[in-house]
Symmetry: C2
Subunit: 285 residues, 2 copies
DNA sequence: TCTTTCCATACCCGCACGGTATCGCTGCCT
DNA sequence: AGGCAGCGATACCGTGCGGGTATGGAAAGA
C-alpha cells in the first residue's frame, strides 16, 4: 500500500485551491517544476488523475475534489496532533476552556467550583473568544468549549448538554416592539441583526460585533436588535428590554470536546459540568 | 510552524506500541539507529519528550500518549483519503453500501428502489459484512452503512435514523424460556450469547458467529441464544421461537456515512432512505 | 566482574527533492 | 497568419537527508 505523505497533501491542496501551478508554487515558497513533478508523482502513485490540465487552465477532476476535501481533514488532524502533543508536554498542565463572555448561562462558576473539588483537578485557563469558537477545539488549541446548539456546527465533537433555554429579543426600550409581551420571527424581518465574526456573509446586515458589551451598546444606540438566550436577562443594561420570541428554536448550551479525547482531567471536567447541569435542571431551572 | 510528517507518525506509532526500538525497527523493516534518530528529531521539533528511556525499558510520557492517539487518527485519515480518492477515480462510479444480511429491517428493497428513481443515481454495490462494519466507513472502503444504535460506535459518522425496533430473545422451541410470553435481561444471566467478530473479548462466551444462518443454526443446536431486533421475525426457522425482552433497550437502524461527505450520489441516497423510513413510520410500522 | 541487552553515536552512501534552464503547446492580439 | 505571452512539462544538476553498518556505553542479571 502506497503511503500518502503530508508534504504531498500540502502541495496538492495549494494547487487545488489556486488552480494554477505557478501561483501555488509561489505560495509554497518553491519553484514550479518540482511542484508539477510532485503532483504527477502523487497521481501516479494513486493511479488516479487529480487535475485536468488544459494549456490555459487547470481544473479538478472528481477524484481531485475528493482528495482536496480529504486532504484538509488530514492536514487539520496533523496540526491538531502537533498542538495537542505540545500542550500535553508543557510543564504546567492546565485545562483550556474557551467560552463566550456572557454565554455561559450562569453555570460556569458552579461548574468550575465542582471541578476544582474533583481529585486531580488541573487549573482551568479560560479563553474568551467570539465567532468560530469550535475551530479552537478542532485545531487542538483548547480542551473544551461552551457552545450553543444548533448555532454551532458540532460534527467531530463530543458533547454534553448543559442547559436548554428559550430565546429573547433584546432591544432598546424605545423600540417599536418594546411594548409587546411576545414577538415572533416574522416581526424581525426588517430588523438589523448582529453579524458575528466568521459567520457567513450576506445573511445578516449591520456591523460586526466582537463582544457582549459592544453588542448591548449598539442595541442601546438603536443600531440593531438581537435574539439571545434567556439567561442574558441578568446582564442587561436598564435601557434595554427583552421579550420572548415565540417561534425561535430553543437553544441548548453544550460542553463540547474533541472526539476520542482521553485526558482524565477532561473527563473529570465533563463529569463536574454534567453534575452541575443535572442539579440545575433538577431544581426546576 | 514545524510540520508533522506521516512517516514520522508511522515510526512513532510503531515505537509507542512496541515500547522497544529494536522490535519497532524490525516491524518497520528498517534498522534501529535511524529509527532512534527519527524519534529524537521528532521530539526536538515538537519541543516535547515523548518517551522515557530507561536503559532497560521504554515508556510513554503523557505527551507521548497523546501523540499516539492523535497519530492513529491522522494515519487513519490519511489512508482513508487515499482509498476514497482512488474509489472516486474509478471508471465505473458506484455507491458502496455495507450491510449485515438480515439486518436491514426489511427496508432495503424499498430504499434501493427509491434511490434508483432519483436523478443521477449510481449503481449500488452491496457489501455484506459482520462485526466492525463501521470500520469500513472510517477506512474509506464504503460510502454508507446500515448500522444499529446503540450497538455500534457512531462517533465520526453522520447518521439518518431509519427504524426503531424493540428486541426479541431468539431461542430453540425446546428452551426453558420458550413458553414465556416475555423475558427480561436478568433471565439471560447464564445464557451463552453470540460473540460477534471483533467484539471485545471476555464479555460474552460462546463461539464466534459470522453470519445470520450460522447464528440461527447454532441457536437451533442449543449452543446459544441471541437478542435481536424484532424485524428478525420474518427470517426465523420454524424450530425457533422469539419472545420480547422487556427491558432491552430499543435498537435503532441508522444509515451512517463519513462526516463531511459531499458526494451528490450519497446525498441522494440519504434522501431516498429518509423518505422510505418516514413513510414506513408514518404508516405505523 | 563478565555478559547481555538495548539505545545512542559516528560515519558513510545513495537518492530523492528542489533549483535553473529550456521546451512546447495554446490562446490571444495585431 | 504570425508573433507573442502565459503556463505546464522536461532535462539536468547539486545537495541535504534518510537509511545502513559499526561501535560505544550504561544498566541489569549471573
Amino acid at each position: 500500500m502506497e503511503r500518502l505523505e503530508v508534504r504531498e497533501l500540502v502541495y496538492f491542496t495549494a494547487v487545488a485551491e489556486e488552480l494554477h501551478f505557478g501561483r501555488a508554487a509561489a505560495r509554497l515558497g518553491m519553484a514550479q517544476p518540482p511542484l508539477s513533478r510532485a503532483i504527477r508523482q502523487l497521481e501516479r502513485r494513486l493511479g488516479v488523475a487529480l487535475l485536468e490540465r488544459g494549456s490555459r487552465r487547470v481544473a479538478l477532476t472528481e477524484a481531485g475534489a475528493v482528495l482536496l476535501r480529504e486532504s484538509r481533514t488530514v492536514l487539520d488532524a496533523a496540526s491538531a496532533a502537533a498542538r495537542r502533543t505540545r500542550r500535553a508536554g508543557r510543564a504546567d498542565p492546565r485545562l483550556v476552556l474557551v467560552i463566550k463572555p456572557g454565554g455561559d448561562g450562569g453555570l460556569l462558576p458552579a461548574i468550575l467550583d465542582a471541578y476544582q473539588a474533583e481529585p486531580g483537578a488541573l487549573p482551568v485557563e479560560l479563553v474568551c473568544s467570539f465567532g468560530e469558537r469550535e475551530i479552537l477545539l478542532r485545531e487542538g488549541r483548547a480542551d473544551a468549549a461552551l457552545l450553543h446548539r444548533p448555532h454551532h456546527d458540532l460534527t467531530g465533537l463530543d458533547t454534553q448538554d448543559l442547559l436548554t433555554e428559550t430565546q429573547l429579543l433584546v432591544m432598546p426600550s424605545s423600540h417599536r416592539l418594546a411594548g409587546r409581551t411576545r414577538v415572533c420571527l416574522n416581526d424581525l424581518a426588517e430588523e438589523p441583526l448582529p453579524r458575528w465574526p466568521g459567520a457567513s456573509e450576506g445573511g445578516s446586515p449591520g456591523p460586526e460585533v466582537h463582544d457582549l458589551g459592544q453588542l448591548l451598546h449598539l442595541i442601546a444606540l438603536r443600531r440593531m436588535v438581537a435574539v439571545l438566550p434567556s439567561s442574558i436577562r441578568g446582564q442587561l443594561r436598564d435601557d434595554l428590554v427583552a421579550v420572548p420570541v415565540d417561534d425561535a428554536e430553543p437553544t441548548t448550551l453544550v460542553l463540547a470536546w474533541p472526539e476520542r479525547a482521553t485526558s482524565p482531567a477532561l473527563a473529570a471536567f465533563v463529569r463536574a459540568a454534567a453534575a452541575v447541569a443535572g442539579k440545575a435542571t433538577g431544581h426546576g431551572g
